[in-house]
C-alpha cells in the first residue's frame, strides 16, 4: 500500500532509532538531515531514553553534504561521539539525504569497527520502509556486526535460554510493561530469557549471549519475523511464533503451552504455573463480573480497535471472551505486507465460531475514522486507538482508551497489557475511563 496516509500511526524507517534507544547504554548516531531526530522524538514523545532525542549525535546534513557527500562529516561526528558520550554500543542510522546521495556509510563505520569499537551501521533511509520493518533491520545489523564478534563457533550452548522478540520499543507504548510480563511468565515456566530491550535486560552483555540461546520466541504477527528467520539460518536456532499479543488468561495460557510444547518443557511445572496465574486472574474477573453484569448506568458493549495487527487480534480475543465486550469492525493500520494479511484474518476469525469480525487493513487511518463515523451499532461503544481518535470518540459518544502511538493524551510509563497481569490492567484502564464519564 503506497497511497496517502492521513493521521499516521507509525513513522518512517529511521524511527527505528528508538530500537537503539531501548537498549541500555546504546546510542543512535544519525547520518541524516537536521530534522529526523526531532521528528522521531516528536512522534513518540517522552521517548528520550538514555541518549535519544536531543542527545543523539547527528550529522545534520545540509546542502554541502547532499552535493559533495557526507562521509567526512560522519567520520567527525562518530569521533566526537566517543569523546562526548559514554556508550556500550553505537548504531549509525542513515536518513533520506545520505540514502539518496549514496554515501558509503559502511566504509566509514568499518574504520571504527576495525579499531575495535562496538559500532554498527544500518540503512534506515526513510522512504525505504517504515519503523515496523526497519526495527528488524536494526536488530539484524547489531547481531551481524556486533553480537557475532562474541560468538566462538559454539552456538545453542544453553538449553534453557531463549531470545525473545516481541513488541517494538516505543511504537508499542506499553513495550516496557509487556516485555517485563513476558520475561516473568517465561521464567515462570522454567526458561531463561534474553529480553534484550528495556530496564529488565542486561544491556549489551545480554545481546552478546544471543548465540548461546537454544531457540527464539517471536510474539508478533509479522514485525520481527525477519529477525528470527535470520537467527535460524545464522545460528541454527529454531523459533516459536505466537502471532499476536497474548492478553488475559486464555491466550496467555495458550501461548505458554505452545512454548512449552516447542521447548519440550516439563509439563507439570508449566501447568502448575499456569494454574496459579489463572486462579489469580479469575479471582479478579469473578469479583468483577457482578459489576460488568449489573452496573445499571451503562457500560460499553462493543469495541472498535484501530491499532497494529498484534493488538487488534489480541484485544479482540481478550475483550470478547474475558470481558464481554463484542469486537465490531476492526482496523489494522500498521501497513501489514500483503502476504501476511490472510494469516492475520484467519487468526482473527478463530476468535469466535458464531460471529464474523469485519477487518480492514489500511495505514490511512483517516479512512478508518471515516468508516467508523458511518457505523451504527446498538449499545454503548468503546474506541481503542491513538490520540488522533479522541475527537472521533467524542463525536460518536464512545468511551475512549488511548493505547497506540501517537498518544499525546496519555502518559504511559511501565504499564503493560500483555499476559495475565496486562489483561487485568487493560480492564482497569477501560473501566477507569468509563467510570470517569460519570460526574
Amino acid at each position: 500500500m503506497t497511497g496517502i496516509i492521513e493521521q499516521e500511526r507509525y513513522t518512517c524507517a529511521i524511527g527505528a532509532m528508538q530500537t537503539v534507544t531501548a537498549i541500555r547504554r546504546a546510542i543512535p548516531i544519525l547520518h541524516s538531515g537536521p530534522g529526523c531526530g526531532t521528528m522521531v522524538s516528536g512522534f513518540f514523545e517522552r521517548a528520550k531514553g538514555y541518549a535519544g532525542g536531543n542527545t543523539a549525535p547527528c550529522t545534520n546534513s545540509g546542502e554541502n553534504e547532499v552535493v559533495f557527500g557526507g562521509e567526512a562529516k560522519l567520520r567527525q561526528v562518530i569521533q566526537g561521539s566517543y569523546q562526548v558520550l559514554e556508550s556500550d554500543l553505537q548504531v549509525v542510522l542513515t536518513g533520506c539525504t545520505a540514502g539518496i546521495v549514496g554515501d558509503d556509510v559502511g566504509q566509514v563505520v568499518k574504520e571504527f569497527q576495525e579499531a575495535g569499537k562496538p559500532i554498527v551501521h544500518v540503512d534506515t533511509t526513510g522512504f525505504k520502509s517504515n519503523n515496523y520493518v526497519s526495527h528488524s533491520h536494526v536488530v539484524k545489523a547489531i547481531i551481524d556486526q556486533y553480537v557475532d564478534r562474541f560468538h566462538q563457533g559454539q552456538t545453542r550452548t544453553r538449553n534453557q535460554l531463549v531470545n525473545v522478540f516481541a513488541t517494538l520499543p516505543y511504537q508499542d507504548p506499553f513495550w516496557k510493561g509487556n516485555l517485563s510480563e513476558l520475561k516473568r511468565i517465561l521464567e515462570g515456566i522454567g526458561l531463561q530469557v534474553n529480553i534484550l530491550f528495556g530496564p529488565e535486560s542486561g544491556g549489551v552483555a545480554e545481546w552478546q549471549r544471543i548465540p548461546q540461546a537454544f531457540a527464539n520466541i517471536l510474539v508478533s504477527p509479522w514485525p520481527g519475523l525477519e529477525i528470527v528467520q535470520h537467527l535460524e539460518q545464522k545460528y541454527g536456532q529454531p523459533f516459536y511464533q505466537f502471532p499476536h499479543l497474548p492478553i488475559g488468561s486464555n491466550e496467555t495460557a495458550r501461548f505458554l503451552r505452545g512454548v512449552a510444547r516447542f521447548a519440550e518443557l516439563e509439563p507439570v511445572r508449566v501447568e502448575a504455573f499456569i494454574a496459579r496465574e489463572e486462579q489469580a486472574f479469575y479471582e479478579e474477573i469473578d469479583s468483577l463480573a457482578t459489576f460488568l453484569l449489573e452496573f445499571r448506568y451503562g457500560l460499553p458493549g462493543y469495541v472498535h480497535v484501530i491499532h497494529d495487527a498484534s493488538y487488534v487480534v489480541g484485544m479482540s480475543k481478550f475483550l470478547l471472551h474475558e470481558v464481554g465486550i463484542v469486537p465490531r469492525e476492526q482496523f489494522i493500520v500498521d501497513n501489514t505486507p500483503e502476504p501476511f494479511q490472510a494469516g492475520i484474518r484467519a487468526e482473527l476469525a478463530t476468535t469466535s465460531s458464531k460471529r464474523t469480525i469485519p477487518l480492514t487493513f489500511d495505514p490511512d487511518a483517516g479512512r478508518a475514522q471515516e468508516a467508523i463515523r458511518g457505523f451504527r451499532h446498538p449499545g454503548r461503544g468503546l474506541l481503542i486507538g491513538s490520540g488522533w481518535d479522541k475527537l472521533l470518540a467524542q463525536d460518536k459518544g464512545f468511551d475512549f482508551l488511548s493505547a497506540s502511538a501517537p498518544s499525546p493524551y496519555r502518559l504511559v510509563l511501565t504499564t503493560g497489557y500483555l499476559g495475565f497481569r496486562g489483561g487485568l490492567r487493560l480492564i482497569e484502564d477501560i473501566y477507569d475511563r468509563v467510570l470517569a464519564t460519570y460526574k
Binding site: I4, G35, T38, F43, V84, L85
Partner: protein
C-alpha cells in the same frame, strides 16, 4: 534589508537571506548591532539533532482553521505534526474556539520507487483526494528532503490543482537539509501564505492590527480594545478569509521577530501595511517603546499614554516587590533568538543577573532591514552586556557543559528538552510555553511569580540531581564547552 519577491516560489533560507549564524561565543555586545555587517559562522565538528524547517513551516499552516496540509515525503517527515493537532484542540479554548475541529494532516508516503520515478503523480492525486475528503478552503503542501532532492516540481502541480479546484493550493519549500536554522521554515510558510492567500486590500480597516504569533492566550483583544483597536491573529486559529484580509490592517505587530520577520516585511512591502519595528514588548522599556510606536502607527498616541499609565499603576508596585525578592539571583537563558532576548530583558527587569545565554541562532538583521528591530542590541542597551553569550542551536552537549560551570540559580528555557539538564543538575528550571505570558507590565508580574515559585519549590530538581543518569563523559565535562566550535582555542 531583504526584498520580498513573491514571484519566486521559494524564499531563500536565513543563512543566505539574512546572514544568520548558529555558532558564536563571546559577549553579547560583540554580536549586537552588527546590523548590515555579517558575523562569521562557526561550524561544529560534533553535533546533535537539530530542529527541522518542515516542522516550523507546518506550524504556520496547520492551525489555520479551515486548511489541510500535505507533507510531500516519506511518512516520517510528518511524524511530529500530531503535536500541532493537540495544541490546536487544547489551546482553542484560550483563543475563543468552542469546538476545535480535527486537523487534517496527510503524508504522500513516498517510497523507494517514488524516489526513482518521481513522486509527482502521487502528489497530484493526493491533492485531489484531500480536497474531496476535507473540503478545506486551502491546501498547503510542505516539502521534505526526499521530495527536494529528487526534484519533484511541486510548484507546477500546486498551480495546476489550484486552477482546477478553485481554492489556494500552496507549495511551501521547507526541505530540512536546506538550512540549519529551523526557523527558515517559518519564512517558507509565510512566503507561501503571502503569495497565495493574502489578497490586495479593497478597503482599509483603521482599527485592525495584524498580530503574528503562535497559539498564546488571547490578551490582545482586551488590551487593544482599550485603545480602540482589534487584533487580527495570524496565522494560528485564523481562517483562510481572515488571513486574506490582513492586507486591510492598519499595522502589523509580532510577538517575536524570529517568527514574524518575513511576514511582517511582506505585508509592509507588498501591501503597504506598516510593520511595528520595535522589539516585542517584554520588559518595561521595550514595552513602553512598543506601545508608543503602535500609538504613532495607528494615530492613538494619547490613548497609549493613558494605557501605559494605567498599566504602571496596576503592576509597578508588585513588580517592585518581586524585584526586591529576586535581586541578586543568577540566571541562564536558552531559547530561540528574539524570544531569548525577550527573556533576558524580563529577567534583568526583575533584578536577576543573566550570566549567560545559549540562543539557537542569530539574525544580524531582520527582513525589514531596520536597525530599530535589533533586539539583542536593544537588550544590551537597556540592561547591560551578557558576558557569556553563545549562539548554539540546541546542542545539548555544550549546554550541559556550560551549566555545570555556571550553576545558575535558575535556568529559563523556551524549547522542549532544554530544561531537563537544568533539572538533572539540581537547578530550578522553567519553561513557559505561552509566548504572551511575559508581555507588558503584567508579564513581568506573571514571570516574577512563576520564577519565585520555581526557586522556592526546588525539592524535585534537588532529588532528581541525586539520581539522574548522565551520558556525558567526564573528559568532555572538563573541556572548554566550545571545543568543537570551528576556530576554537586548542
Amino acid at each position: 534589508m531583504s526584498t520580498i519577491n513573491l514571484k519566486n516560489p521559494q524564499v531563500e533560507v536565513r543563512e543566505h537571506r539574512l546572514g544568520s549564524i548558529t555558532g558564536f561565543e563571546g559577549a553579547a555586545s560583540q554580536l549586537a548591532g552588527c546590523c548590515g555587517g555579517s558575523p562569521k559562522e562557526r561550524n561544529r565538528s560534533f553535533s546533535q539533532c537539530l530542529g527541522c524547517s518542515t516542522s516550523n513551516a507546518a506550524c504556520t499552516v496547520i492551525l489555520i482553521q479551515d486548511a489541510a496540509v500535505i507533507s510531500h515525503g516519506p511518512v516520517g517527515c510528518s511524524g511530529n505534526l500530531h503535536e500541532y493537532a493537540f495544541t490546536y484542540r487544547v489551546n482553542g479554548v484560550q483563543r475563543g474556539l468552542e469546538h476545535p475541529t480535527q486537523r487534517r494532516i496527510f503524508s504522500t508516503n513516498l517510497d523507494e520507487s517514488d524516489t526513482v520515478y518521481g513522486g509527482e503523480r502521487k502528489l497530484a492525486e493526493a491533492i485531489r483526494e484531500v480536497h474531496g475528503r476535507t473540503g478545506a478552503k486551502a491546501i498547503f503542501i510542505i516539502t521534505t528532503c526526499a521530495s527536494g532532492i529528487i526534484g519533484d516540481d511541486v510548484e507546477s502541480l500546486a498551480s495546476e490543482a489550484e486552477a482546477e479546484l478553485g481554492i489556494p493550493v500552496v507549495a511551501i519549500f521547507c526541505e530540512g537539509f536546506r538550512s540549519r536554522i529551523w526557523t527558515s521554515g517559518f519564512d517558507a510558510g509565510y512566503h507561501g501564505i503571502a503569495r497565495k492567500l493574502i489578497k490586495p486590500a479593497t478597503r482599509k480597516q483603521p482599527d485592525l492590527v495584524n498580530v503574528i504569533n503562535f497559539w498564546g492566550t488571547d490578551i490582545f483583544t482586551a488590551l487593544f480594545g482599550r485603545i480602540g483597536l482589534r487584533p487580527n491573529y495570524i496565522t494560528p486559529y485564523a481562517t483562510v478569509a481572515g488571513i486574506a484580509q490582513s492586507s486591510e490592517a492598519v499595522a502589523t505587530v509580532q510577538i517575536c521577530a524570529t517568527l514574524g520577520s518575513y511576514l511582517g516585511a511582506a505585508l509592509e512591502q507588498v501591501h503597504g501595511v506598516p510593520e511595528l519595528k520595535s522589539p516585542a514588548p517584554y520588559g518595561i522599556q521595550a514595552t513602553d517603546r512598543w506601545w508608543r510606536e503602535l500609538g504613532q502607527l495607528t494615530g492613538r498616541s494619547r490613548e497609549v499614554e493613558t494605557l501605559l499609565q494605567e498599566e504602571r499603576a496596576a503592576f509597578l508596585p508588585r513588580i517592585q516587590e518581586l524585584k526586591a525578592l529576586l535581586t541578586g539571583r543568577s540566571a541562564y537563558v536558552t531559547a530561540g533568538a528574539a524570544h531569548g532576548h525577550a527573556l533576558i530583558a524580563i529577567l534583568s527587569e526583575l533584578g536577576l543577573r543573566v550570566t549567560g545565554a545559549a540562543v539557537f541562532h542569530h539574525d544580524p538583521v531582520y527582513d525589514s532591514g531596520s536597525e530599530q528591530s535589533d533586539s539583542l542590541q536593544a537588550v544590551v542597551r537597556d540592561h547591560g552586556d551578557i558576558p557569556r553569550y553563545t549562539v548554539c542551536n540546541k546542542q545539548e552537549f555544550e549546554l550541559v557543559n556550560v551549566l555545570m560551570r555556571e550553576r545558575p540559580d535558575l535556568l529559563l528555557a523556551r524549547h522542549g528538552g532544554m530544561t531537563l539538564w537544568g533539572a538533572k543538575l539540581g537547578i530550578p528550571s522553567l519553561l513557559i510555553g505561552d509566548e504572551h505570558f511575559g508581555m507588558g507590565y503584567q508579564g513581568l508580574v506573571n514571570y516574577g511569580e512563576r520564577i519565585l515559585e520555581a526557586l522556592e519549590n526546588d525539592e524535585f530538581v534537588k532529588n532528581l540531581a541525586r539520581h539522574a543518569v548522565n551520558p556525558y563523559t567526564d573528559w568532555w565535562l572538563k573541556q572548554d564547552p566550545y571545543l568543537f566550535l570551528e576556530g576554537a582555542r586548542p
